[in-house]
């Protein structure tokens, strides 16, 4: 395992900090009860573990603990946010207009597509110009603003792309949405733990993020952090330890949205991951990824047969293709050398279409906190030989 070079952090971070693994193990040993389901010490210990993670996440993302909803992953959080807001929005009215960006992951696009097919929303895509060799904030804001209609109720967009290092100006989009009374749902799958995010000051209605990427927690963890006053329809109903004699879910967040037993050991690991990120410093992590991303991008740009997509965007996600090879062939060659990347479409048909990658997709190298210069150099050595 030690010979592997892991450059797939956009999929999930690896390795996890030892404190994360210890927190999972300790929780399984000492907090084995079901949180919020009893009053015995093991149940209360599990509840305490859950709450301390909510407190840490709330502090990191500018909310309060009861606005931190645990989910299985970002996709789960996005489905809850999008369908929950759409459900509230459709009450007493017909369909409404929703905007998403041209770089969205299927975690955003597919729930929206389904709502559009069902006639609940009218979906429109705005441009984000990821390949433009200039600052794009104003262009993006103009593209978005020009598409807002009187019946626009929701904007859904990623903060940072999962296929290149393009970033959307979320704070400015949030200001726009707040002025227009539009809900803003943000997919922070690639930015949580790498960029500062503050749900209320950025005008975000629902912030959806993974626990297992930049926040260094175990897989099976994600969060939906609600903006102040935001309320959703539920995605799932069931037991949550509150008001058990009633047929309907109680209105109180977060339990309203957390039917069924939570993944306590994984959440304990996430709490340790949040502590790790706080200790390392988000700015330091971002700079580390930016520096290594630049090294990888610049190295690839020097190879004649290589095309780098969105080469002007700075960050830890680098997308490229190699003339004469399919993306999967390049991926397999790198696999064979023990270099872990991801080839194909990265669950983002919209993004690949926007970047005009080849018909078989492209190869993504993505850096993380544990990445080293020699990892990048090792990957470049293999690609140069193609």
């Amino acid at each position: 395992m030690s010979k592997l070079v892991y450059l797939d952090h956009a999929a999930t971070s690896y390795p996890k900090p030892p404190t994360v693994m210890a927190a999972v193990s300790d929780c399984m040993k000492y907090c084995g009860g079901n949180p919020g389901r009893g009053s015995h010490p093991l149940a209360m210990g599990a509840a305490s573990e859950i709450y301390s993670c909510r407190e840490m996440a709330a502090e990191m993302f500018g909310a309060e603990p009861d606005r931190v909803i645990f989910t299985l992953n970002t996709t789960h959080a996005l489905n809850l946010a999008i369908k929950g807001l759409a459900g509230r929005g459709k009450q007493g009215s017909g369909g409404f207009h929703v905007l998403c960006s041209d770089m969205e992951h299927n975690a955003v696009y597919r729930p929206l597509y389904r709502l559009a097919v069902e006639g609940i929303i009218d979906l429109e895509v705005f441009d984000t110009f990821p390949a433009a060799p200039v600052r794009t904030e104003d262009l993006i804001l103009r593209s978005l603003t020009s598409r807002i209609r009187p019946d626009t109720r929701m904007v859904v967009c990623s903060h940072a792309s999962n296929i290149c290092s393009a970033i959307l100006p979320i704070r400015r989009i949030g200001e726009l949405c707040r002025r227009r009374g539009i809900h803003l749902v943000v997919d922070a799958a690639q930015s949580a733990g790498v960029y500062e995010l503050d749900v209320d000051s950025m005008g975000i209605t629902a912030l959806c993020l993974p626990g297992h990427k930049g926040l260094m927690g175990p897989q099976g963890t994600g969060m939906l952090i609600l903006g102040k006053g935001a309320a959703l329809d539920t995605l799932m109903e069931g037991g949550n330890g509150v008001d058990s004699l009633r047929g309907e879910m109680s209105e109180d967040a977060p339990e309203r949205y957390e039917a069924g037993t939570l993944q306590t050991p994984a959440i304990a690991g996430l709490r340790a991951g949040l502590e790790f990120v706080e200790s390392a410093g988000i700015e330091a992590i971002r700079e580390h990824e930016r520096r290594l991303g630049a090294k990888l991008r610049d190295g690839l740009l020097e190879i004649p047969k290589v095309t780098v997509y969105a080469p002007h965007r700075e960050g830890g996600v680098v997308l490229f293709s190699v003339e004469g090879y399919t993306s999967e062939e390049v991926g397999r060659i790198l696999d064979g050398e023990g270099i872990c990347v991801r080839a194909g479409f990265h669950c983002s048909a919209l993004g690949h279409n926007t970047l005009q990658t080849p018909a078989d997709g492209a190869v993504r190298g993505s850096l993380g906190w544990s990445s080293r210069e020699r990892d990048v150099e090792g990957m470049l050595r293999v690609v140069r030989k193609l």
Binding site: G36, S39, A47, S48, V242, D252
Partner: protein, 98 residues
């Protein structure tokens, strides 16, 4: 089973068996909140306000909807508890006196 007497919003004892004018300033009171998370938030807020509060699962016999969590605190702190929780937007379903 816990035995509690219901208090009204001003903190007055509403259990007629205790007699009019009975003081609730001694003993333990419970703020019934509902979810575990909100009860823990209440406990943290009260702790910051120097009110000693402990998390409890309220007896189902004393709630209308079934399971609920809350915080126990000294009844002498009843007014402080109400101010702290109201200011933080933590809704208390009812106050009980043990």
């Amino acid at each position: 089973m816990r035995r509690s007497n219901q208090l009204n919003q001003t903190g007055a004892d509403t259990d007629s068996r205790r007699g009019t004018g009975a003081s609730h300033s001694v003993g333990t009171c419970t703020a019934v909140i509902g979810s575990m998370t909100r009860a823990m938030k209440a406990q943290a807020l009260l702790s910051e306000a120097a009110v000693r509060a402990s998390l409890v699962k309220v007896s189902s016999a004393q709630t209308t909807g079934g399971c609920a969590y809350g915080v126990d605190f000294p009844c002498t702190q009843r007014a402080n508890v109400q101010v702290v929780l109201e200011r933080a937007g933590v809704r208390v379903r009812e106050y009980l006196q043990v």
